[in-house]
């Protein structure tokens, strides 16, 4: 589309619009409604339904508004042309001849474009007296979607969405003419994780959700704008609530985040919110059993016990775990409580974003990257919307996707190359790439590094052939990848949490910086898998950071915050999670408060350590494994029941809003922390804990964090607030980073690789009905070489044994994994695979044994 504008006259109204846009778009900008079925603003127009016929002066016959480009001084008649009005009326009559008109039982009724257009443009009465065509009704396409072929108007928006956006060609038209119907291919149900979007774009009630099915009529729903809490993208959603129950989730357009789409997990997995398992009252351990109590009792008890520990063992005997899943407000208050009331820096959260990571600058910007490199990151399962944006870059602009991952992920389907590596081989892999880029590339690449000559000497050791034994990546794939990288105009490196596990944060990022330094306009972004990973870090739920990532060591900042919070902040360095565990085990920690995380589920070591804490308080939605160890359990409000902000993987602040009341006595986190603090500080200082709402907490956050000055819930609004991208100081020098030799242990010859699946049996998804039917049974993927080595065949039941214990799995033999590693998905097996992992989480080595 050019920048030129043209003038079109539509129904006598002069409309200015960009040259090259369609008549439909021009009319829409002028507020003139042209009805459509097949046309959708996000899909390529096909002009099939003929509902948008308009009259254009000087053109023979009627034209489809959705496909006709505007010309200057074009005269279009939409509602003033009798021929066009008649054609549209006739079209509705045609459609309704075979439509079952079962609106009273149809979930689309009330928000159905066909209903609206039948009322607006239809003839009112049908002249059709014959029997209607019969096709399949109540025809499940998958676990999540049911099709009614009789209601379908065959606009094939669903097919086109899956083709043009999701690139999952799983639906198609079958049959011909009047017998045409939408269907899946025989024996292949819909598997796309984007299928839920077809429900939204279906202009009739043909595709409906099996989870929302008959739950409510749409006009009965109270709709609340919110944000999805299930991954780091923070898709904008609408919660539809009827009778204090979340009935459905639909996407809300935000071009900076999720366009108009959401993944099926975000859409369908809301069952946990209203699950009967939700904690409804505070619980106190009496005689070894957790028993219901009132808030008064529970909070008084916690205050008394914490005061006692403070007296006896001092502030350093207490610690708290925040969460990358709960709101900024809760995280902020938690660290404020720990630092101000208890006087300790022992506050952290699990899955903290590694030091050196930078947030992605923009999600829609992904579309305009020509090479996207995924380092230990699988957007398809960890942050699905990122995958959609990547697919857009691939499908519409021909971007290349390089994948560095121990096993093949879905995005490998775009030809990769796939750079499989063994965990711990990250540095070797990157050094190999640096070397290959220098070899393949012309002088341009070398010229970018100031110290290229002296670096060549240490890089000598990293020819692709020498790297192959270090990390397991084939030399040919490395060379191929280097060639793609050298050609790249705007490469983007997406780093996942797995990337820094093996080699350590500093070295992994240094090695990556070496590579990006050599490339054209390269950017690195960290893809956080959790809803508020950046927020938890920003709020200072870290032992070495105050809110806004202001270092605790800096006395000036400490003094400033001390006077702001009205207390003397402790200069003693705090324990991080990895430090808390031995402290627990050694009995140094007497009290601990855990909000919104379940460390006992993640690893056996953590569970054992937490058992040794005399006073453990857990605040969560469900009775998690950690909660069963607690002395006091506090029921908290879910994302659908509380107000607050979440920070997504681009650092964008977005608001969640309460759509319903929490179940029973459950309360929002900010209320619980505030109430507890007010019990523990002397009365004259209680004013500083006078938070009346999450909004007032956020007001304080906006004062504490330098970059947030002037923000409030009002300014965040519906769309959220995007911080300016951080200015990363460009390096000019290659830093020498040497790779580790591959680790070896004759008892445990294999590396364990874990990864998320989109649908798993985690705390929340376990309580989402239907989604559970999509979770595979526990499996382990092994390389054919490993299979030969252990004499194991595809489908065999095996034990996976680590130094921590053993778990049963079914073997899948596949060459889509690097030899010497095995892959097990998180949160699928019960007991969880975390049982095999020791904390602090580094590399876990395992072996296989056939089950007898």
């Amino acid at each position: 589309m050019s920048d030129q504008t043209v003038c079109v006259i539509i129904d006598g109204q002069e409309v200015r619009c960009p040259a090259g846009c369609t008549v439909y778009e021009a009319a829409t900008t002028a507020g003139i409604h042209i009805p459509t079925f097949c046309h959708h603003p996000k899909l390529v127009p096909v002009g099939a339904c003929r509902q948008c016929l308009v009259e254009v002066e000087g053109m023979r016959g009627l034209q489809t508004a959705c496909t006709t480009p505007v010309r200057d001084n074009m005269v279009v008649k939409v509602h003033t042309s009798p021929a066009a009005v008649k054609a549209r009326k006739a079209n509705i009559e045609f459609l309704l001849t075979n439509h079952p008109l079962d609106c009273p039982v149809c979930d689309k009724g009330g928000e159905c474009p066909l209903q609206n257009q039948a009322m607006q443009d239809g003839p009112g009465q049908s002249r059709y007296v014959e029997e209607k065509r019969h096709k399949n009704k109540r025809y499940p396409l998958s676990e999540l979607i049911v099709l009614d072929q009789e209601r379908c108007v065959l606009c094939w928006r669903c097919i086109r969405f899956l083709d043009e956006w999701a690139d999952d060609h799983e639906l198609d038209l079958f049959g011909r003419g009047a017998d045409t119907r939408i269907d899946t291919f025989p024996g292949r149900p819909l598997r796309s994780k984007w299928q839920g979007n077809t429900i939204d774009i279906c202009p009739v009630g043909a595709l409906t959700s099996r989870i929302f099915r008959f739950e409510a009529r749409v006009w009965e729903l109270t709709n609340t704008a919110s944000v999805c809490p299930l991954c780091g993208v923070g898709c904008n959603i609408v919660l539809g609530v009827k009778n204090q129950k979340v009935r459905r989730i639909t996407p809300r357009e935000n071009m900076e985040v999720n366009d108009t789409w959401i993944c099926d997990k975000g859409r369908f997995a809301h069952g946990f919110v209203d699950h009967p398992d939700r904690l409804k009252t505070p619980l106190i351990r009496r005689n070894g059993k957790l028993e219901p109590a009132t808030w008064e009792e529970a909070l008084d008890l916690i205050a008394a016990r914490l005061n006692a520990i403070l007296q006896e063992d001092g502030p350093q005997a207490m610690a708290a775990l925040g969460s990358n899943q709960v709101t900024n407000e809760a995280n902020y208050l938690l660290q404020r409580f720990m630092r101000v009331v208890l006087g300790t820096n022992n506050v952290d959260h699990i899955g903290r974003i590694p030091t050196g990571a930078t947030p992605l600058t923009s999600l829609p910007g992904l579309e305009h990257r020509d090479v996207i490199v995924l380092l230990g990151c699988d957007p398809s399962t960890e942050a699905p919307l990122v995958e959609l944006w990547i697919k857009k870059a691939v499908l519409r602009h021909g971007a290349r996707v390089l994948v560095a991952n121990p096993h093949q992920i879905e995005l490998c389907r775009y030809g990769g190359p796939w750079l499989g590596y063994r965990p711990g081989g990250e540095v070797a892999l990157l050094n190999g790439l640096v070397r290959a880029v220098l070899d393949v590339g012309a002088k341009d690449q070398a010229a970018r590094a100031a110290n290229i000559e002296e670096s060549r000497s240490w890089l000598k050791a990293y020819t692709p052939e020498r790297v192959e034994p270090l990390c397991g990546t084939p030399a040919a794939a490395l060379r191929q990848a280097a060639e793609v990288l050298v050609q790249a105009r705007r490469p983007l490196f997406l780093v996942g949490p797995a990337w820094t596990k093996g080699s350590g944060e500093q070295r992994a990022f240094d090695a990556l910086a070496n590579l990006t330094l050599l490339l054209n306009d390269a950017e690195t972004g960290f893809v956080a898998g959790d809803a508020n990973a950046w927020g938890a870090l920003q709020m200072g739920v870290a032992p070495h950071w105050y809110p806004g990532q202001q270092p605790c060591q800096d006395p000036e900042i400490r003094n400033r915050l001390s006077s702001f919070w009205g207390t003397k902040l402790s200069p003693v360095p705090g324990l991080d999670w990895d430090g808390m565990l031995p402290a627990c085990a050694q009995g140094k920690l007497k009290g601990m408060w855990i909000i919104g995380s379940d460390p006992a589920h993640r690893s056996q070591t953590a569970g054992e350590a937490l058992k040794r804490i005399p006073f453990l308080v857990v605040q969560d939605l469900f009775m998690t494994e950690t909660a069963t160890l607690a002395q006091v359990v506090l029921p908290t409000a879910s994302f659908a029941e509380t107000e607050g902000t979440l920070t997504n993987l681009t650092g964008r602040l977005q608001m969640i809003r309460p759509a319903k009341r929490p179940p029973g006595q459950a309360r929002p986190d900010w209320w619980i922390i505030t109430e507890l603090a007010r019990r523990m500080v002397e009365s004259k200082r209680q004013k500083s804990w006078d938070f009346a709402s999450a909004a007032s907490v956020f007001q304080e956050i906006a004062k504490v964090i330098p970059g947030y000055r002037g923000l409030s819930y009002t300014t965040l609004g519906e769309a959220g607030w995007q911080p300016a991208p951080a200015q990363v100081k460009a390096r000019r020098h290659l830093v020498r980073v040497e790779a580790d030799p591959p680790s070896a242990d004759p008892n445990y010859p294999l590396e364990l690789v874990t990864g998320r699946l989109l649908y798993d049996r985690g705390t929340l998804l376990r309580r989402a009905s239907r989604i559970q039917n999509l979770v595979p049974s526990p499996y382990v993927i092994i390389h054919p070489d490993t299979a030969n080595q252990f004499g194991i065949a595809h489908g065999d039941p095996v034990w996976l044994i680590s130094s921590q214990g053993q778990l049963p799995f079914t073997v899948l033999v596949s060459d889509e994994i690097v030899a010497g590693t095995v892959f097990v998905p998180w949160n699928v097996s019960d007991p969880p695979v975390g049982m095999l992992v020791s904390e602090p989480e580094g590399l876990t080595r395992v072996r296989l044994a056939k089950q007898e």
Partner: protein, 425 residues
């Protein structure tokens, strides 16, 4: 009979082993190809064909030379497609050519490909044409062996491969954009125009789609020149045309006549007049999609695009269907409507739902359950389909219904009021 017929296009038909390359060569075959390749630049061939005034024989009658000139300059590769999906009820002229003179078809394709600077040509063949497939396939092999196809044709440096793709039995795939979809391996759905195939067609490259008979004419034009070709026919519809006559005549079949010949010559002289002397009721002049004409009107017209259009119908592909007094028009229309209902691709609403509805109404009328208001309803449905549908199939489906209701309304009324057929009694 043969004396009255001009025999240019059909000169090889009836010759023993006419499909063999030896026969073809012995009768002057591939001379035009040699002439084109050796003596003319591609643009000159286009010019000659344009000057001849040859119009597309597939039905629409679009000037062939002009179509070739639409190819955008400098965009390669280009493709040429020979549309051999002869699906229209009543047409069988292309089949005669492909079965009995396959080398003529190949030569036409080769010259057209040369003119359009195409190196890959496709024959999209109707799936049911088994013999045509074998004859064409053998012809391609023979022609390649003799150096008329393949690399470096006749030593001129021009390369051309011809591929045969067999359709899967869908009528709509005779429509050029649906044909392209089908050829690309997709569902046989027509595509949006513009872009027209000449600018963006097969695999989004410039593509020329021509009917078999159109391409068959090309060698003659190239060999003898445009002026020679213009000796037949009228100013605006020059040349020779094949007419395939079916129905109630004594000798149905494919005949070759200059454009503009009176219909009466075709029916009475060549075809031997009405079968068994039963007077004629109606004539469909151009294949089932063209409007029906009362026989007395049709017999007054001449066989060229303009005359038949003036008389209220279309020349189409030249498939003349003759219907006599003993035939029930309602039943005929019912059959035709059934065909179009079956062949609608289902892409657009007016055609998909309209053809279904028309068929159901005609079915009721045919079976004695018609209502008086059904006749006007049918006409209104015709109005609502015509020119509203995505591709011309909608218009084609309307043709027989609307014309029969216009010209033979009393038969419908009899069906409705008496609940039986006027003809059967």
């Amino acid at each position: 009979m043969t004396g009255m017929q001009t025999k240019v296009l059909l000169r090889n038909i009836g010759v023993p082993n006419s499909h063999e390359i030896e026969t073809y060569l012995s009768r002057g075959g591939y001379q035009a190809l040699q002439k084109a390749l050796r003596e003319h630049q591609p643009a000159e061939v286009v010019r000659i064909v344009a000057d001849s005034g040859l119009r597309g024989r597939g039905g629409a009658g679009f000037p062939t030379g002009r179509k070739w000139m639409f190819l955008p300059k400098g965009v390669y590769p280009r493709y040429l497609i020979c549309n051999a999906d002869e699906g229209e009820p009543g047409t069988f002229k292309d089949r005669v050519l492909m079965e009995h003179d396959p080398h003529g078809v190949i030569e036409g394709i080769a010259i057209a490909s040369y003119a359009c600077e195409v190196h890959q040509a496709f024959i999209y063949l109707r799936g049911e044409y088994e013999l045509s497939y074998h004859r064409l396939r053998d012809a391609i092999v023979q022609a390649s062996e003799r150096g008329f196809l393949g690399k470096n044709i006749l030593g001129t440096g021009y390369d051309l491969d011809v591929h045969i793709v067999r359709g899967a039995g869908s009528y709509v795939c005779g429509e050029e954009t649906a044909l392209l979809s089908s050829l690309e391996g997709k569902r046989g759905h027509p595509k949006l125009k513009p872009p027209f195939p000449a600018t963006e067609g097969l695999y989004r490259k410039p593509t020329i789609v021509n009917n078999v008979e159109t391409l068959f004419n090309v060698p003659f034009i190239v060999e003898h020149g445009a002026e020679w070709y213009r000796q037949w026919g009228t100013e605006r519809s020059p040349g020779l045309k094949l007419f395939c006559v079916s129905g109630h005549v004594e000798r149905p079949g494919t005949y070759e006549l200059p454009m503009g010949t009176p219909m009466r010559t075709l029916i009475d002289d060549l075809c031997g007049g009405p079968r068994d002397g039963i007077p004629l009721k109606a004539i469909i002049p151009g294949g089932s999609s063209t409007p029906m004409m009362p026989a007395e009107v049709a017999l007054q017209t001449n066989l060229d695009y303009e005359s038949i259009f003036e008389a209220g119908s279309l020349l189409g592909a030249g498939a003349v269907i003759v219907i006599n007094e003993k035939t029930c028009i309602v039943r005929t229309t019912h059959r035709l409507a059934g065909f179009y209902r079956h062949e609608s691709c289902g892409k657009c609403i007016p055609c998909r739902e309209g053809t279904d509805w028309m068929y159901k109404i005609l079915h009721r009328i045919e079976h004695g359950q018609g209502r008086t208001e059904d006749l006007d309803l049918l006409l209104d449905i015709c109005d609502n389909i015509a020119e509203k549908s995505f591709c011309p199939l909608g218009d084609a489906a309307v043709g027989p219904v609307r014309s029969s209701l216009t010209h033979f309304r009393e038969e419908y009324e009899f069906h409705v009021s008496e609940k039986r057929c006027l003809v059967d009694g």
